[in-house]
Symmetry: C3
Subunit: 206 residues, 3 copies
C-alpha cells in the first residue's frame, strides 16, 4: 500500500474501532470487552473476506490494527464525554474507512482471479461485515439490515470499481473512483435521508 492508502487505512480502522467501542460502552462493557468489540468492528469484515478467499487475514501479518484499536480505546477512556461533539468528524472518518475497505476488498478479490461479481460481494463484506459482528456481540439486530444506505454504498462502489478495472483503467484510478462512489453515496444518503423500502408481508413471525 502507498503511504497515502496507509494513512486512510489507519483513519478508517480508528473510526471503525471507535464506533464499536462507543456502542460497547453504551452496554456497559468493561475495557476488555470494549477493546474486543472495537477490534472486531475494525477487522471483522476483512477477516471474513480472507477466510472465504482462503488467505491469511491481514491483521495477523501486521500489529498496526491491534495498536490502532488500543489508541481508539484510550481515546474513548480519556475524551469520552467530548466525543459527542465530534460526531460529524467521526461520520466523515467512518465513511472514509468504508470507502477504502470496500475498494481494498474488491481489489484483493480480483487480484486473486475471482470473477467480478465475487469482487463486489467481497468489497461489501469488507466494508460492512465488521459492523454486523459488532451488533451481534452487543446483542442488537444489525443496524445495516434496517437503516441507512450503508451496505448499498459498498455495493455501488464495488460495482464502479470492478467496471473501471475491467475497462482497463489504472488501479489507482479505479480505487479513487470506486472509493469516491462509496463515500458520496453514503454522505448523500444520510444528508437527504434516503432509505431502502422496508419489507412487510403482514405475516406474524413463525
Amino acid at each position: 500500500m502507498s503511504l497515502f492508502a496507509q494513512i486512510l487505512d489507519f483513519i478508517g480502522t480508528f473510526a471503525f474501532a471507535i464506533s464499536g467501542i462507543r456502542l460497547a460502552s453504551a452496554k456497559r462493557f468493561d475495557w476488555f470487552g470494549a477493546y474486543v468489540v472495537g477490534f472486531v468492528t475494525a477487522i471483522g469484515g476483512g477477516t471474513l473476506r480472507d477466510l472465504l478467499l482462503d488467505v491469511t487475514p491481514g491483521w495477523m501479518t501486521n500489529p498496526i490494527y491491534l495498536i490502532c484499536t488500543g489508541l481508539a480505546l484510550l481515546w474513548v477512556i480519556l475524551f469520552g464525554k467530548y466525543l459527542i461533539h465530534l460526531n460529524n468528524t467521526f461520520f466523515l472518518f467512518d465513511s472514509i474507512g468504508l470507502a477504502l475497505f470496500t475498494v481494498v476488498g474488491a481489489s484483493k478479490t480480483l487480484a486473486l482471479g475471482y470473477p467480478a461479481w465475487v469482487a463486489v460481494i467481497m468489497g461489501s463484506i469488507t466494508g460492512a461485515a465488521g459492523g454486523v459482528i459488532r451488533d451481534v456481540f452487543i446483542n442488537e439486530i444489525p443496524l445495516i439490515f434496517r437503516k441507512e444506505i450503508y451496505a448499498m454504498a459498498c455495493v455501488a462502489g464495488g460495482i464502479v470499481y470492478t467496471v473501471c478495472s475491467r475497462l482497463g483503467m489504472h488501479e489507482l484510478g479505479c480505487q479513487l473512483v470506486g472509493g469516491l462512489t462509496v463515500f458520496a453515496t453514503r454522505i448523500l444518503a444520510v444528508k437527504y435521508n434516503i432509505c431502502l423500502p422496508v419489507l412487510n408481508d403482514k405475516e406474524r413471525k413463525r
Copy 2:
C-alpha cells in the same frame, strides 16, 4: 450435479431464502437486509462446511444462488400477502432443500476423504447451520435448538447416507435413500408433533 439435482438445489435454495426473507420482514428489515438474511439462510450452512473442509464455498463459483435469492425477494415483495396460503407448499420445498443439502454435504465430505462421522456432522451443518445464522441475525434464539425435529432429521439422513455409501451402494442410490430419510423424518415429526425432550436442570442462569 445432474439436471434433476440442480432443479432440487434451486427449489431448496429458493425455499431457504424465502424462510429467511419472511422472518426478516417480520422484524421490519429493509430490502437489502431481507436479501442478505435470505442469502445467508440459503448458503450459510454450505459456507460453514466449506470453510471447515478448506475448500472454496460453492456460491463463490456460481452466481445462481445470488440470482435465486433475488427471485425469492422479488416474490415476497410482489406476492407477500398471499404467501401465508402457501405455507404447506413452502414446508414441502423447505424439506426438499433440507434433504438435498444434507446428502450433498455428506457426499462432498466423504469425497474429500474424511471419516464417516465427520460426513454426518457436515451433512447436518449444511442443512441446518444456515437457519442458525439467520436466527442470530434477527436476534432470536435459534429455532432448531428448541423446537422441531429439524437437525435430527439431518443427522438421521446423514447416517443412512454414510452407511449406504460405506456398504458400496451406488452414489445416486445413497443420495436417494439418505435424502428420503431426511424428508420422511421431518414430515412425520411435524405431522405427529414429535419433539425431543427439553433439558431442565432446575438451576438458575449463572
Copy 3:
C-alpha cells in the same frame, strides 16, 4: 499430546461442555440444542483459531470431543439437580480447561511460525471464543465482555508462555508456567472479586 495433557484436555472439554449445556437448559433448549451448545462451547475457540491459522480443526480429526460432549449431556440429564452442589468443582475444571486451551493455542501458533503477538491472541481465542459463541447462541451479551477476569487470564498466560518460549525454555516448562498463570489469575480474580473498569462515555446508543 502426552497422556497427562490428554487427561487435562478431556477434563477441560467436559467442563466447557457442561457450562454450555447448563446455560442452554436454563433457556429450555431441547437435548439436541443443549448438545450443540455444549459442543460449540468446548470446540468453538479452537475451531476459530484453526480457521484463522488455516489448518484442519482438531475435533475433525478425533471423535473424542463429540463423545466427551455426549457424556457431559448424559451427566446433566441424569444428575442435573445435584450439579449445583458441584459448582466449585466445575469452576476448578473450567479453569483447568481454560489454562490448557490457552497454552495449546499459543503453542500451536508459534509452531506454525507466527509471531509472538499472534500466539497470544490465538491462545486467548482458543480459551475464550467458545464461550462467546455459546452466549450468542443463547441470545445473551457475551459474559466475558462484561464480567470476570476471564479472557484477561488467557492474555496474561499467553504472554507468559510466549516469553518463556522465546527465552528458550523447554516446551513443557513453558506450558506449565503459562498454564499456571492462567489458572492462578482466574482463581485469584474470582476470589478477590477483581474486575476491569467498565467503560461509560455517558452517551446514548446511536
